[in-house]
């Protein structure tokens, strides 16, 4: 079972079997429409909270993605290079962007739970 944390800009962190994954929410994937390209950082890169760590491009929009917490990239989802549509198909599963080692897991406490994120007025943002 995965536990999810979200930030307002629609990125998530999920804890899956003791690993942390970062990606974009179902809502964000749906809003972007058909995703055609995902740009990801290099493995080993250190990203600070709030820093841009990638770009998602759909047919109609380009959107940067921002780190919800401080982390180091331990793996990137190589499958997205050939099949960026996986992000639309399963953004919070197979469509994850990167695996990360968190510098300070207590930063998660400041993020939204899944229930809080679901309840957030997303259209207003």
């Amino acid at each position: 079972m995965a536990t999810f944390w979200f930030q307002k800009t629609h990125e998530y962190i999920a804890e899956v079997d003791g690993e942390y994954r970062v990606g974009i929410s179902e809502f964000a994937a749906q809003e972007l429409g058909d995703i055609t390209f995902v740009e990801l950082p290099d493995v080993g890169a250190t990203i600070a909270q709030g820093e841009r760590f990638g770009t998602v491009e759909s047919v109609k929009a380009v959107s940067d993605v921002y780190a919800p917490v401080d982390f180091q990239v331990t793996a990137v989802n190589e499958a997205l290079a050939d099949e960026p549509e996986k992000v639309n198909a399963d953004p919070q599963g197979d469509g994850w962007f990167i695996k990360a080692k968190l510098s300070d897991p207590s930063q998660l406490d400041a993020l939204m739970s899944e229930a809080d994120y679901d309840a957030m007025d997303k259209e207003a943002g």
Binding site: G33, D34, T36, T55, S58, V59, K60, E85, N88
Partner: protein
């Protein structure tokens, strides 16, 4: 704010279909349906798609001098079209720019319809009125007519199944006037996709039942509602200009490679400067480029380089679903407009390799009788 945008008669239909609605040029329009842009795009190329394009503007021109008036304000030669003919043309400015691009429909030489871009309705209306030295009667019927397009290889089958008689995709750029449930309609063999297709311009009161009839008739033929997102990728692949991107009040008809639309044997507003542009050449020309899928899509404003020299900028760019790579329109120095030339273009602040291509990016299938 929210209510400032107009709703077409099909607004509720789009919402029920789950469309993402956006304010486009003051109209709430579907940008895509849950099907998604890529599948909507491919449906038009492979089968058939249906579009609500009610945001487009309709003007009517009536009077003894209607022919002379249209000859004066547009650059194409209206003598070429004949009754029941449709012509792609532009309103050039005396300064060498473009007010809008449009289609002109000749009902007879004393009666014309113009279909103009939604974003330019007010500006165009002001323009035609300002240049009406011919005493013609002008009517802006944009709020009275809806436009439904049926585009793709199976378009004839859909219209036939919906009860239209003698439907044949025989002469692209013609139209006929029909009655549909007692409502005035124009059945036009026109489109903006590069595919065989029809556009139906109908009085608003007839729009909903026409849409429903076409959807029912097309169900077995794979008819797919298509939003403005795929409309844009379809027209871009087909190498068709979009006002506000490839055309504006600073671009000349000649720069946009639209010299074929100019009636050189007639007089019209802004002719002098076009004659000069044709004789002397221009500093830039509209051209195309492609970028491999893995590099991402160039976007409007991205600079284009050849051997390190800045050659111009992108005006429209997108992932092209039919080609599975990225394509773009760009204004380039004439020296760089050579198909196959290696270029670089800025994508997300990095220079990536690109190849110059002469648009269209796909082969038009408008004039193919059967395939």
């Amino acid at each position: 704010m929210e209510d400032a945008a107009k709703r077409t008669p099909l607004y509720d239909t789009h919402v029920k279909l789950g469309a993402k609605m956006v304010d486009f040029a003051g109209y709430m329009m579907p940008v895509w349906y849950p099907t998604g842009i890529v599948k909507e795009h491919l449906a038009v190329r492979n089968d058939v798609g249906i579009f609500d394009l009610t945001h487009m503007g309709e003007f009517f021109i009536k009077g003894e001098s209607a022919f002379d008036f249209v000859q004066h304000v547009t650059c194409n030669d209206v003598r070429k079209i004949g009754n029941g003919g449709v012509q792609y043309t532009l309103f050039p400015t005396p300064e060498g720019g473009v007010v809008d691009d449009l289609l002109v429909y000749q009902i007879n030489p004393e009666y014309y319809m113009m279909v103009v871009n939604a974003s330019n309705i007010d500006k165009d209306w002001e323009w035609v009125n300002r240049h009406n030295d011919f005493g013609v009667e002008l009517k802006n019927s944009s709020d009275n007519y809806s436009l439904i397009a049926v585009q793709g290889p199976r378009c004839e089958e859909v219209l036939t199944a919906a009860g239209f008689e003698d439907v044949a995709y025989d002469h692209p750029f013609t139209f006929r006037r029909v009655k549909r449930d007692g409502k005035r309609a124009y059945l036009c063999i026109t489109g903006y996709t590069g595919e065989r297709g029809f556009e139906l311009i109908i009085q608003n009161a007839g729009a909903q039942s026409l849409w429903n009839d076409l959807m029912t008739a097309g169900a077995a033929l794979g008819i797919t509602p298509v939003g403005l997102g795929a409309r844009d990728t379809l027209r871009l692949e087909a190498g068709m200009c979009l006002y506000g991107h490839e055309l504006d009040d600073t671009t000349s008809v000649i720069e946009a490679n639209l010299a074929w639309t100019v009636g050189w044997d007639k007089d019209f507003l802004g002719k002098d400067v076009l004659v000069r542009h044709k004789a002397d050449g221009t500093d830039r020309l509209l051209f195309g480029l492609t970028v491999e899928k893995k590099f991402g899509s160039p976007r409007p404003g991205a600079r284009v380089f050849a051997e390190g020299t800045d050659m111009g900028a992108v005006t429209s760019g997108s992932y092209a679903p039919s080609l599975d790579k990225n394509i773009a329109f760009c204004y380039l120095r004439p020296a760089a407009c050579e198909a196959g030339r290696e270029l670089t273009v800025e994508v997300r602040k990095k220079q990536v390799p690109a190849t110059a291509v002469k648009p269209p990016f796909i082969r038009h299938r408008l004039f193919e009788h059967k395939y």
